[in-house]
């Protein structure tokens, strides 16, 4: 039997008012432990023999969606404007039918669910239904199984934006994992669930040691600590002295600078986090920090604290080349004319706060006030993670 998949991602309201977005990007397109909910759904459909999968994605003007959802084998992506979204979705459905599909599984993301699609299709066939709908705890989800021959039923579904079908849809209860992905808290829960292996989907990359997944191209510098469970995405860089702990996921091309502690947080793709900071219980990226414990979202325009790194290859390459070319002359200049750098006094070091704060880092009150700093000047206090 030819079963195809159709996955939709769009916005129904203004980007600023809609809750299921972060920095204007739908949560379904943001990477969590290496892959977005869209990619994970497509992967799951393929696992159950549903394929090929077509994705219809609204082209978000504020953010280049193509950069967020990189292409995956077996997934055909179509980008469309908001006003033509439902027409494009209907056309995509008709195209699937014309190319021989007998059943189409339609999923709008949204929520992420792990349904046994084989069982779903079997129930659909057993009930002899035209359209079947998935539900979770009695609440209908935007997941449908549609018989391809029932084009008019599908058309009515698309024209009412999946809110109403002209025939009765029998509800099939979901028995697998479910995450509504409505806000940053849900995104964080999703990352925790993936890293805690509560989901069937796994973090991408290789498990370097129990509970620590590292994607290819990730660079963890000597002196950095990654404590399980944690995920480091491809091309991500964890600099010396930093600590990644408690279900933290650092997505692709993100950077954590020296001495920063990231605890129970998600660092989104292409995000740079400055040196000597303490990020906890948060989702950070695109110049935004959503602190889940305080329920606050802070926009940060200071490049020393948090910023987006360039996704383009050329600026990154030029920057690296400039660093490489200028390295030797700089070292020679420093060796010949530079003054010898004095080792900082331990007592002074203990009095420092974040290096991101510039000259105020020399504030007189100790940042790590152990009380023993004056008595034992050679004592080194090392903060491991959290409040330890």
């Amino acid at each position: 039997m030819d079963i195809r998949g159709l996955v939709l991602i769009n916005s129904e309201a203004e980007p600023e008012t809609e809750p299921n977005r972060f920095g204007g990007v739908p949560l379904g397109l943001l990477d969590v432990a290496g892959k977005s909910a869209l990619m994970r759904t497509a992967e799951r459909l393929r696992t159950f023999g549903v394929g090929p999968v077509t994705a219809v994605i609204e082209d978000f003007s504020s953010v280049p969606a193509r950069g967020i959802a990189p292409g995956e084998p077996g997934l055909t992506s179509t980008f469309t404007s908001r006003d033509r979204f439902w027409r494009t979705a209907e056309n995509a459905f008709n195209e699937l039918v014309q190319t021989g599909a007998e059943i189409v599984i339609l999923i709008k993301i949204g929520a992420y669910q792990e349904m046994d699609f084989e069982k779903f299709v079997q129930l659909h066939l057993d009930n002899n239904s035209r359209v079947s709908q998935l539900s979770y705890e009695g609440q209908p989800l935007e997941v449908f199984c549609i018989s391809a021959s029932r084009r008019n039923d599908a058309a009515s579904l698309f024209r009412t934006r999946l809110s109403k079908c002209r025939v009765d849809c029998p509800l099939v209860e979901l028995d697998g994992y479910f995450n509504p992905l409505r806000n940053a808290g849900d995104l964080r829960d999703f990352a925790i669930d993936i890293l805690s292996l509560r989901t069937e989907t796994c973090p991408s990359g290789i498990q370097m040691k129990p509970g620590v997944w590292v994607a290819p191209g990730a660079h963890i510098e000597k002196g950095a600590r990654v404590i399980a469970p944690a995920f480091i995405g491809s091309g991500a860089r964890i600099r010396s002295g930093s600590v990644i702990t408690r279900c933290t996921s650092v997505e692709r091309h993100a950077q954590v600078d020296c001495g920063t502690v990231v605890e129970n947080s998600s660092l989104l793709a292409n995000c740079y986090l400055g040196a000597g900071l303490d990020l906890a219980h948060s989702v950070a990226g695109m110049g935004i920090i959503a602190n889940l414990r305080r329920g606050a979202t802070a926009l940060i325009s200071d490049y020393k604290l948090i910023r987006s790194t360039s996704q383009a290859v050329t600026p990154n390459f030029l920057s690296s080349a400039r660093e490489l070319v200028s390295f030797l002359p700089r070292q020679l200049w420093r060796g010949m004319f530079g003054s010898r750098v004095q080792q900082p006094d331990l007592n002074v070091t203990l009095h420092q706060t974040s290096p991101a704060l510039g000259k105020a880092a020399g504030y007189e009150a100790p940042a790590c006030n152990t009380g023993a700093a004056d008595e034992f000047p050679n004592l080194v206090a090392v903060r491991t993670h959290g409040n330890q």
């Binding site: 400055g274 000597g276 900071l277 303490d278 990020l279 906890a280 948060s282 920090i289 602190n291 305080r294 329920g295 606050a296 979202t297 802070a298 926009l299 940060i300 325009s301 200071d302 020393k304 604290l305 706060t353 974040s354 991101a356 704060l357 510039g358 000259k359 105020a360 504030y363 007189e364 009150a365 940042a367």
Partner: protein, 130 residues
Amino acid sequence: MEINSRPVVVKRMPERVNARTAREFMQALRPFLVTDRPQLVLDLSQVVRLDAAGVEMLLSCMSAAHKRDGDLKLAAPSPQAYVVLELTRTERLFEIYDTSSDAVRSFSGFLPNTMRQQLLHKRTPTISAA
């Protein structure tokens, strides 16, 4: 007994605290910081965006106040301001109160350092060596 008769200056910080506004705010605060034992409360309830420059300014103000045996306390920080203070690990350096009036009251609740030292010295029983 009137414990504290010195004035407590309460200043409200602007909505956006970046390098420029921090410098302007510091200029406005300077006359109060050069007085003897300055007592300052900064109301952060309106702060929506706080940069590292803003946090640096707060630390500089507190440092200047401490140099003159005074103190600087923060009041009613907005959630956004709190996020940045936590991010830069500086929230533990400040005394933070829920409201400005609580912060003002806290100054009269404690004696100045010099008086406290004198009182402690008087009250501490002398232990004579046998």
